[in-house]
């Protein structure tokens, strides 16, 4: 499956990460795998891109992190903040309108697993 890169991913990647975290906190590698698995590889962003993206979302207050060292391997978990939820809601609407518009143009029928 060909992945989406560049400008598309720059816009879609953060929304996709926020969407994944909506269900609960996740650590970095878990997010990498989830993105690949749940988007059928389309949003399988380079792993080196994910962590800077997480830091940026954290810097903007949309997500928060904590370390958990209780398991076999230390993991850094990320969770959605209240601001992150509001941001996700707003972005979801935008993506929905975009999808509808694209469909109206006959460009696509759906983008599975990315937006609700």
């Amino acid at each position: 499956m060909t992945t989406i890169e560049g400008e598309f991913l720059r816009g879609a990647g953060p929304v996709a990460v926020l969407k994944l975290l909506e269900r609960g906190e996740m650590y970095g590698y878990e997010l990498v795998e989830a993105l690949e698995r749940r988007t059928d590889g389309i949003l399988a962003m380079g792993q080196s891109t994910l962590y800077p993206m997480l830091y940026n979302l954290e810097a903007k207050g949309f997500i928060a992190a904590r370390w958990d060292e209780s398991g076999a391997r230390p993991r850094k978990y990320y969770r959605l903040t209240a601001d992150g939820r509001r941001k996700l809601a707003a972005d979801a609407k935008s993506w929905h309108r975009l999808t509808v518009a694209m469909e109206a143009l006959g460009l696509t029928s759906s983008i599975p697993g990315v937006v609700a």
Partner: protein, 621 residues
């Protein structure tokens, strides 16, 4: 997800604080650890931030390996470490607080600014090193261009260098010189004792003058020649060997030959000045001997020779030449008044008229400030310490050697060994660009010098009183006020200007003193013609004086009084207070400053003429 060991995932200096995550013992393969370190190094983040990123990536690869991926596959799927490092750095910085980011930006900006400034400083230093001062003119040649020339038989120096050794007036420490020194230390006046034990008696002085009468006649004849011809620009030669020590001749020739020697104008050899000054004293002695024998005409010849030699000395117009010339004329003027007061009968009316003519014979330009010689010296100094942009400007950019010269001037020891250590040389190199920026530029420096010279020259015809009461010159006011900033910016001027400060006063005193002799001679002539002393100086005009004399201190007519037995003409003197012509110490000179203690005027008049029959006032301490 929960656990017993859970903490905030900070690790950056943002909202989460500076709590970096402690490095966790890695169980990853060495190549993965190396990969992670490559990323971490590339981020150039702070330690706490690096620790956090390291922990996150370690966790990431541990998870990848645990999921069954090989180390190579995990690294390959992670992506390019350099790109990752750049992105992580940008993101980690974005996590910092606004103040932190602002501080970081300021730090970076400061770093760049410092870097640019240092770079510019280094480039400027290189520019200065490549544009060291390149002297464009030879000061010796420039002096030579201003000197009068004459055929060999009209050049006085050719005669002086033969006569001076015969009179013992040389720098050599030989018998003739010792005798001349002893004669010079004699009383100089009949009936008086030597001023020190080593001095000759009056009779010995008379005998010496008689013995050397032919030499003195040749000296007088040479003084009448129009050109001195001292070898300022060609160097002393073996022909001058009889006058000066061998070392002086070698120094003089080296100075002319070595055009790369800095500040040559200040090194121009003037060893003859001491000899000609001694000539003035010997001629004054001879004048006294002649007058004591009733030979007034011969006495006037001697005094005329002193004045003529003084004018030769002023070729060229270095300040030191002016000062020596003025001192020689002061010897002639004071001796003339002494003779008129004590031995007036030695002089015929024609002798007196000739004496007046002698005192008036000094052209105005030689009795007023003229700084062309000094300017050549200053411009020479400038061309050695300033670079030249070809348009009259340039930076203060002295070589180590010339910094040494400046230091020696500052220490008052020009010419002494001021070799710098290598460490000092390095310091000079480091400081040079800063100094070049700080110091006045070449054009500014010369403009300042010329403005100051112009202001001084504008006062060249002022009287003593006007000079004493006028506001100080303005151009150099910051220097006089001790303005440290100005002095440091105009260092060359601060070091070299003060020497000229009193020149106008010295020259005004020269003019005044010769006028006093003129008036004294006129009074004697008046008395002979009229049978009584004049009751006012105006009475001397026009028969004996071309115009009414003026007291140079008060600006009014000089004091004059006589009761038949006594007669006095006087100026109020430097204290500007009329004491009625008192004859106490200090009355002999227009500038009766005390020689010790703080410089101030003595409370006395300057008496131009006091024919009391006694010369006691001339020998008071």
């Amino acid at each position: 997800m929960s656990g017993a060991k859970i903490h905030d995932g900070g690790g950056n200096p943002g909202a989460s604080g500076h709590r970096g995550r402690s490095p966790h013992p890695s169980t990853l393969p060495p190549e993965v650890d190396g990969f992670i370190e490559q990323v971490i190094r590339g981020t150039r983040l702070r330690k706490a931030e690096r620790d956090d990123v390291r922990a996150e990536l370690t966790s990431h690869f541990a998870e990848a390996l645990a999921s069954g991926a090989s180390a190579a596959a995990a690294m390959a799927s992670y992506g390019d470490p350099k790109d990752s490092a750049r992105a992580l750095r940008a993101a980690a910085i974005a996590k910092r607080s606004a103040i932190d980011r602002a501080f970081g930006r300021a730090l970076v900006a400061t770093g760049w600014t410092v870097g640019v400034v240092v770079g510019a400083y280094v480039l400027f230093a290189l520019y200065l090193a490549a544009n060291a001062p390149r002297p464009s003119f030879d000061p010796i040649e420039r002096v030579a261009e201003r000197l009068p020339v004459a055929p060999p038989d009209q050049v006085a120096w050719a005669s002086y260098r033969k006569i001076l050794p015969a009179l013992g007036l040389t720098g050599h420490q030989d018998g003739a010189n010792a005798t001349a020194d002893r004669i010079d230390a004699g009383p100089g006046w009949p009936g008086r004792k030597p001023t020190d034990e080593a001095g000759a008696t009056w009779d010995e002085q008379v005998a010496w003058c008689d013995t050397h009468s032919a030499d003195l006649a040749r000296l007088r004849a040479a003084s009448a020649l129009p050109v001195l011809g001292f070898p300022y620009a060609t160097g002393l030669t073996e022909l001058d060997a009889a006058l000066f020590e061998q070392g002086v001749i070698e120094q003089s020739q080296a100075l002319i030959r070595d055009k790369d020697r800095p500040w040559r104008a200040f090194g121009i050899m003037l060893p003859h000045l001491a000899s000609v000054r001694q000539c003035a004293r010997v001629l004054a002695l001879d004048a006294t001997v002649a007058a004591s024998r009733g030979q007034g005409a011969a006495a006037v010849d001697d005094l005329a020779a002193i004045v003529a030699m003084s004018m030769q000395v002023q070729q060229p117009r270095f300040l030191i030449c002016d000062l020596v010339a003025v001192a020689m004329r002061a010897v002639a003027a004071q001796r003339a008044v002494m003779l008129l007061e004590a031995m007036p009968d030695a002089f015929t009316d024609a002798d007196l008229a000739r004496l007046q003519a002698v005192m008036r014979s000094v052209p105005a330009e030689l009795a007023m400030l003229e700084l062309w010689g000094e300017r050549i010296g200053f411009e020479d100094a400038v061309q050695w310490v300033y670079s030249d942009d070809g348009d009259g400007d340039g930076f203060f950019n002295p070589t180590t050697e010339n910094v040494s010269m400046l230091s020696s001037i500052d220490a008052g020891s020009l010419g002494s060994d001021n070799t710098m250590s290598s460490m000092q040389s390095v310091m000079v190199s480091l400081v040079r660009p800063g100094a070049a920026i700080w110091m006045a530029g070449r054009k500014d420096m010369m403009d300042f010098y010329d403005r100051w010279c112009e202001e001084l020259t504008a006062r060249r015809d002022w009287t003593l009183g006007t000079l004493a009461t006028a506001a100080p010159t303005q151009t150099d006011a910051p220097l006089r006020a001790g303005d440290a900033v100005f002095k440091s910016r105009y260092l060359l001027a601060a070091l070299l200007l003060p020497a000229i400060d009193k020149a106008n006063t010295v020259l005004a005193a020269d003019r005044a003193q010769r006028e006093a002799v003129d008036v004294a001679a006129a009074c004697v002539r008046f008395r002979r013609a009229k049978g009584a002393w004049p009751t006012s100086v105006a009475a001397l005009v026009p028969a004996y004086l071309p115009s009414t004399p003026v007291d140079p201190w008060s600006g009014k007519a000089p004091g004059i009084k006589g009761d038949g037995a006594t007669f006095l003409v006087w100026s109020v003197g430097e204290d500007m207070v009329d004491q009625g012509g008192d004859l106490s110490a200090g009355s002999q000179s227009p500038r009766a400053r005390q020689t010790s203690g703080p410089e101030r005027a003595m409370a006395c008049d300057w008496v131009w003429f006091a024919p009391t029959g006694s010369v006691d006032r001339w020998f008071q301490e």
